[in-house]
């Protein structure tokens, strides 16, 4: 991506973006850039401020403070020239219940001077068999495909996808990933939000993790949270009549009393040695003992957990 970014201005530039809803600050000083042709994934728990950020970039909401450039436009004042070049999948989009899939896509195609073929788009999102179905009869996943079709039909240079695959079955999700990858090949820039780490890992060139209105981490999916350096996770079921405090080489984390204990360590051999010696000394078997490298999911949970715990913010 770095190579592509040279000579082309970034598709999206966000600097010190803030958004208040009344006294509540939903987005607090977020800055990032998305290069032209890049796929950027925004991750974060519910209420982190992803939709708010994306909708500001789409021109749907007016920011409180900060600098925003999208395709060289201020989305607030971009007007038609701006909207002709972006495609938007809202987190929850509205449809005219009594129109058919084909009628909806034709309608949206008619807003652009140079749209894709209606039939092609419908086929591309896998709704060819539902062309004549009224949108009120579509399933949740089919509606999401329609959302995608309506965003694609104008041949946008930049697409916003706010949780594009929520409600998809695993198969449909693979299809959507395939489609998004094809879009990337055609040079389309994509900003997507997701709760699914595997999705971001599959698709995104770079990931930003949001929590409580802050961008708390930004990297490639592979390096998220310094995963390569993040050591090893040791987990086992705490034997009855012991507490986490009795264990050697602590502190050990315990999510529920009497449940699993785990530790994140850079010195697994030493910890394991102490642990197994302790177990042997008590003539114990350690049920469910596993030693693994953390998954992206665990790294992510640690990142947002850290933010929640230490997240006392100055308003």
């Amino acid at each position: 991506m770095e190579g592509m970014a040279v000579g082309r201005p970034p598709a999206i530039e966000v600097d010190g973006l803030c958004m208040d809803y009344g006294p509540f600050r939903a987005v607090d000083g977020v800055s990032f850039q998305v290069a032209a042709g890049e796929i950027y994934g925004l991750l974060g728990p519910n209420g982190a401020g992803k939709t708010t950020t994306v909708e500001i970039l789409e021109g749907h909401r007016r920011r409180t403070a900060g600098r925003v450039r999208v395709l060289g436009f201020d989305p607030c004042h971009g007007g038609r020239r701006f909207r002709e070049r972006v495609g938007i999948v809202l987190q929850s989009g509205g449809n005219d219940a009594e129109l058919s899939v084909r009628e909806m896509v034709s309608l949206y195609a008619s807003f652009y001077a140079n749209p894709l073929s209606v039939t092609d788009v419908i086929t591309q999102v896998g709704l060819a068999g539902k062309q004549r179905a009224r949108t009120r009869t579509l399933s949740g996943g089919q509606l999401r495909r329609l959302d995608l079709a309506l965003a694609l039909v104008g041949k946008p240079d930049l697409i916003f996808l706010d949780e594009p695959t929520t409600g998809f079955d695993p198969n449909a999700r693979r299809d959507a990933w395939q489609m998004i990858s094809e879009l990337r090949r055609s040079g389309t820039t994509i900003l997507l939000t997701s709760h699914y780490l595997d999705e971001v890992q599959q698709l995104a060139d770079r990931v930003g993790v949001m929590s409580h209105g802050h961008l708390v981490e930004e990297s490639t999916p592979a390096a998220l949270g310094g995963r390569d350096l993040a050591g090893t996770v040791i987990t086992f079921d705490l034997p009855p009549s012991f507490t986490a405090g009795d264990l050697p080489a602590g502190p050990w984390d315990q999510a529920m009393p009497g449940g699993q204990v785990s530790m994140h360590t850079d010195e697994p051999t030493e910890v394991l040695l102490a642990l197994t010696q302790w177990a042997a000394g008590h003539e114990l078997e350690l049920p469910g003992l596993t030693v693994v490298r953390p998954t992206l999911e665990e790294v992510y949970l640690r990142i947002i957990g850290r933010e929640t715990v230490g997240g006392a913010r100055v308003g």
């Binding site: 038609r80 938007i88 509205g94 219940a97 009594e98 008619s110 140079n114």
Partner: protein, 278 residues
Amino acid sequence: MVPVSAELAHRSRPVPRLVLGQARYQLLLLTRSPLGFLLTLVLPLLLLVSLNVITPGGASTAPAGLPYAQFLTPAVSAFCLLNAAYVTTITSVVHAREEGVLKRLRGTPLPAWTYLAGRFTAALVTSAISIAIIVGVAVVFFKVHLVWHAFGYFVLAGLLGIVSFFLVAAAVSVLVSKTETALPVAFGTMLPLAFISDVFFSSRKGPHWLHDLASVFPVAPVARAMEAAFNPATTAWPMPVTGLISVLCWTAAGAAVIVLAFRWDPGPFRFRPRHHPH
């Protein structure tokens, strides 16, 4: 994929085509909505027939010795305009906004006003068709005759009415927060006005103050002018200047509210939130 070629590829669509497309879209929606059809055609027609049948001695309520049907036909036509331009606009705009349809449209290059222009054109077409049917039925079955020398006044007053009712309705839709309240609000404001504005009965025999009160709102001047245009005695533009001013004021007020506050996002009406960066 160089930005320059991208610029060239994205040439805008001509605006007249967009407006026509919107009108077609709105008409398509209307043909699929039984409520719209019921309000603009069936209800006025039912009213025309039933009032004519129930009130055979209705001549007494019609002005200046006209046959009742001669009064009722343009009156019901005004009612049809109210339904097509006012009630339908409020219900469908609120519905589209709360469903998120408007928000999605707002994210496309469709200019905002073309949406309203499309809706207006659809209201115009449906009311023209409905009124043609109503007048046709009246002529054939109730011996109503068209007053050709005043027919232009009928059309002109009707056009004035539809513009005014439409803009006021679009403004009212801004204030309505929920889909469920749209129809009660629309009927709750329209029906009482219709009753005092000579849309069902002539109010000549009612109290003066009621007659004058009605003239403050846009319905009465429009309805009375349309009715006068079916009276053979009418030879000049039948809307008093005060009535015209009232209609124009309401129209301007509606337009102002739309420009300042028309909403595309779902949710309750708020005064524009003002954000002060800390």
